[in-house]
Symmetry: C2
Subunit: 296 residues, 2 copies
């Protein structure tokens, strides 16, 4: 009986950790959201404590979305710019601790899985997704299947659009993660007399009403993203690019409002994810169902 079983989805963000009990249909039964603390041990502790609180004998497995590069077959976190969990065998640690199977992939892959099953990517087979939060993650679906390339592909936050841009966690300059992420928006706001923590929706409203500074901030924030989307179309030409993560809808609305110049050659079809911030945790749960659901 499916309804007595559930998967645990864990979505590890640069700022927040979300853990949820998720049904086979992608319904969240219960969700916990906590801030990510500083320090490797504290980060691991908050992950394990929150899994523990939702774990039960109904749990068929754990899916975990990680905000960085992941060696997916081995379930190892390779790098995580905003976290201190480099080189950890996360899937193994969860398996050992809870005696349930676990699967680790990037948070963006998890989010795209959810959008594919029950969100804005339903019906599409070639999709790229950018998840815009503290950083920018990426995921690619080719012919209906998650695309890993020869290792860690789809790191779309590291499309580099400006050689004079800020230094990125990846060691280069001008990756869109440094220019069009939530952190970048915060830095742009800090250079103005606008409140650094103004919600993006309010900032967009201000710009719509003609506020020149709000418009300028949004232009500087969204133009690099548009360049990267055009580059992405030049390389893989997906059916659609989804903008997800906490700021996905805001980025989509800003693109409509500002309409930065692009190339007439590359007609980028862009949409906002429809599952918002829950996409990652739902996708992580659905992923666990996909991998371990038939073992119940």
């Amino acid at each position: 009986m499916n309804h007595v079983h559930e998967a645990l989805g864990v979505d590890l963000g640069g700022t927040k950790i979300r853990v949820a009990r998720v049904t086979r249909e992608g319904v969240i039964l219960e969700k916990r959201v906590e801030r990510v603390p500083k320090g490797r041990d504290a980060q691991l502790e908050v992950i394990f404590q929150n899994i523990q609180k939702l774990y039960s004998d109904r749990t068929i497995g754990v899916g975990l979305g990680f905000p960085g590069r992941v060696k997916v077959p081995e379930g190892i976190a390779l790098t995580a710019g905003y976290l201190e969990l480099k080189d950890l065998p996360l899937a193994d640690l969860i398996r050992q601790h809870f005696s349930v199977p676990a699967f680790v992939d990037t948070d963006a892959d998890m989010a795209l899985l959810a959008e594919t099953k029950m969100g804005a990517a339903r019906g599409f087979k070639d999709v790229a997704m950018m998840t815009i939060g503290t950083g920018i993650g990426g995921a690619i679906l080719f012919d209906g299947k998650m695309f890993y390339g020869n290792g860690s592909a789809a790191q779309l936050g590291h499309l580099t659009v400006d050689p004079r841009g800020p230094v990125c966690n990846c060691g280069r300059r001008g990756c869109i993660e440094t220019l069009s992420s939530g952190s970048a928006l915060g830095r742009l706001l800090a250079q103005t007399d606008l409140d650094r923590n103004i919600p993006a929706t309010e900032l967009i409203e201000l710009a719509q009403k003609g506020h020149p500074v709000a418009r300028q901030v949004l232009t500087e924030w969204i133009t690099p993203l548009k360049m990267a989307i055009d580059s992405l179309y030049a390389v893989i030409s997906p059916e659609i690019v989804l903008l997800g993560g906490g700021l996905g809808s805001a980025a989509f609305e800003t693109l409509q409002l500002i309409q930065p110049a692009g190339s007439p050659w590359f007609h980028s079809r862009v949409a906002a994810g429809t599952l918002g911030d829950d996409a990652g945790v739902i996708g992580s749960g659905l992923c666990a169902w996909e991998k371990f659901g038939d073992q119940e």
Copy 2:
């Protein structure tokens, strides 16, 4: 008897047109090379005249590599920055004129096909190729198959790396086609007191001997290409990136010499194509064999 049959390969470059009689094994039996004239009618004439000169009743079909975006299923040239053959149904025109089947793809796809069958990409299944000549073309092989995406993918010359760069044929600024192509190298040289037409091999030799201007020109030429290669690895993470076209080897040697900074996250494996300028015409012939060889 295969040896009495042959395919015609046509490689249309931004500067030169190459036509060759090609065996099933990719051996060139005879080749013609001519400069591309100005004007749409003159360009079509030189293409058809040169096909005519090599065409015979042994010809099983024509493969044509086009230096721009191609609607491959219909054989239509969509855009060609350096040529004036926009929106032409090239495959149909060849079919009607010579009564043999014809297939049109991008010149870079043709070159990658040749490198896959008998060059530097042999044994690899996930390959990206940049063809560096007058412009920069691109081709992607996924799982051993040419990748078209949802239309015209693999336009790798239009990875955009600098918002303040020169205006590109595609309408944007700072595409690597404007920064790391042969034309770009010529423009960089023209700003120095070096001969604008110095062969790339000599320029590299000068830089190896410590000539500061030669080194500076090569640094400015190759750094954007390195940025684009890193971006490409972030997106599709191929097994290898091949540098082909007339300047492929020079670009590869320059990368070794200058070693522009990259990202420690993206370990780009790069190699020079081994078929040089003939890759396109050989691949076009091999493509015709693949498509039409069983109809002889």
